[in-house]
Symmetry: C2
Subunit: 266 residues, 2 copies
């Protein structure tokens, strides 16, 4: 089974993938969009991509690409994320480098301890470690085992801005798995613009049926400022009667509805 993850070796998406399936044949990609396109085209069986983080919030690129492509969320996994600062030597650090998400998760640490360092984003935590291996003036933010993999010295541990730093990953494939009785469903709803109460009517379809929403997030529709898609995660499988009922109700009020997937709750 070919499972796509962010590369090179040592990323958190690789860790999530290994935890989900120790035996999968991992394929490394340069960014999350390429992973999802490879799933859509069938050159990958599955892909592991981050959806949101408890400190930094949604991963916008992944949300936008999930809406665009013909793929399905088939699983979710939450991974505790602890970041370290690492470099070749503890000398002067001119550049702090990582993926944009960890840079956001460690913003307070960087501002407090390295206010003069240039903060630079790159494709992944492990790519940042690889660069720190090459350039002594750079320090990377990545997981502790990535320091070991790239022969770097850990300068500081647990540098994320909160104790409870967890990233929620999605396992993405082409099919929606069968219900397990303890599932979640992700969908995207697009409403007619500027109609007071439209979002409320949509949410009521769920509350009427006592369906618990675990996440409501908006993303720009890219059709103009103030025009949004709403991403809704809820408890239940898309084949459940009450979820089906809510979906019928929503379709009466929404201009567009797309089910991103149903999957066992983590």
């Amino acid at each position: 089974m070919r499972l796509g993850v962010l590369g090179p070796e040592g990323t958190f998406s690789e860790k999530a993938a290994r935890r989900w399936s120790p035996k999968a044949d991992l394929v490394y990609f340069g960014d999350f969009e390429d992973i999802l396109r490879a799933v859509e085209s069938g050159s990958l069986d599955l892909g592991m991509v981050p959806l949101e983080n408890s400190l930094e919030g949604a991963v916008p690129l992944v949300m936008d690409v999930l809406l665009e492509l013909d793929v399905k969320i088939a699983g979710e996994m939450s991974l505790p994320v602890r970041h370290c600062l690492m470099s070749q030597n503890p000398g002067e650090i001119k550049v702090i480098i990582s993926h944009p998400q960890p840079l956001g998760q460690c913003r307070k640490f960087i501002k407090e301890h390295y206010p003069k360092a240039e903060v630079r984003a790159t494709g992944s935590t492990s790519h940042a470690a690889k660069l720190a291996q090459e350039f002594p003036e750079m320090a990377a933010i990545a997981g502790a085992d990535t320091a070991e993999k790239y022969g770097l010295r850990i300068l500081a541990r647990d540098i994320q801005d909160g104790i409870d730093n967890v990233t929620r990953f999605a396992l993405v494939g082409k099919e929606i798995p069968e219900p397990t009785g303890r599932d979640k469903t992700s969908m995207v709803v697009y409403l007619d613009r500027d109609r007071p109460g439209a979002l409320c009517q949509v949410l009521q379809e769920f509350s009427l049926r006592s369906i618990n929403l675990t996440r409501v997030e908006s993303r720009p529709s890219k059709r103009g400022l103030g025009d949004y898609y709403f991403y809704i995660d809820l408890e239940g499988h898309i084949s459940d009667g009450h979820v089906q009922g809510a979906l019928v109700g929503i379709k009466r009020n929404a201009a567009e509805v797309k089910v991103l997937g149903s999957y066992p709750r983590a």
Copy 2:
């Protein structure tokens, strides 16, 4: 009047500030958090910071800091944003550099035309232009007039991923301005976790009173995965009777409500 903007000279927040007040005494800062802290401490009268963009969505750092600090949104301004790629010479471009927001707004262009370039984030579009002035292998993404300011050649124009690219800025101060009859209010609501229908009850307080919501956005509470603040923008001033009525209703259902400001609609 001292008005804080992102620096160095040539950023879009500077353009928004100049449009708002051609005569203000502009003060340049390295990041948006420092602008907002200077407003809170009183060393600035006002600050101009981006809230959201029609392609790339919310600016998470600004949302988090607005919630944390004792400041008020006192105005809003929408600025059309057109990006150019610029460098010293049209030779090989190894690095494409800009602020993370423009990099997101031009993602498709970069992926299509410069798939092998290293994409690097820095503090502002104008800082990127300054670096491109220094390093010939770098191309910056910034506005056309920034190319002129830094003596760079424009390699491509209008490279954002959509025609309608607009950034909405907030003018932030210490006081809420008087109602004009055509205002907006921004607030943040924190709900008790995992109560089905809680968000719906909050939104109903608005729809019952025919108050139009112009934005509903969530941000992690940083208290754990799946726990969010909801940012709500609505039409009306906080001193309006029906907005006051909604606020009273919301306070019955929400654990925490913070009014971020009321201001004339752009």
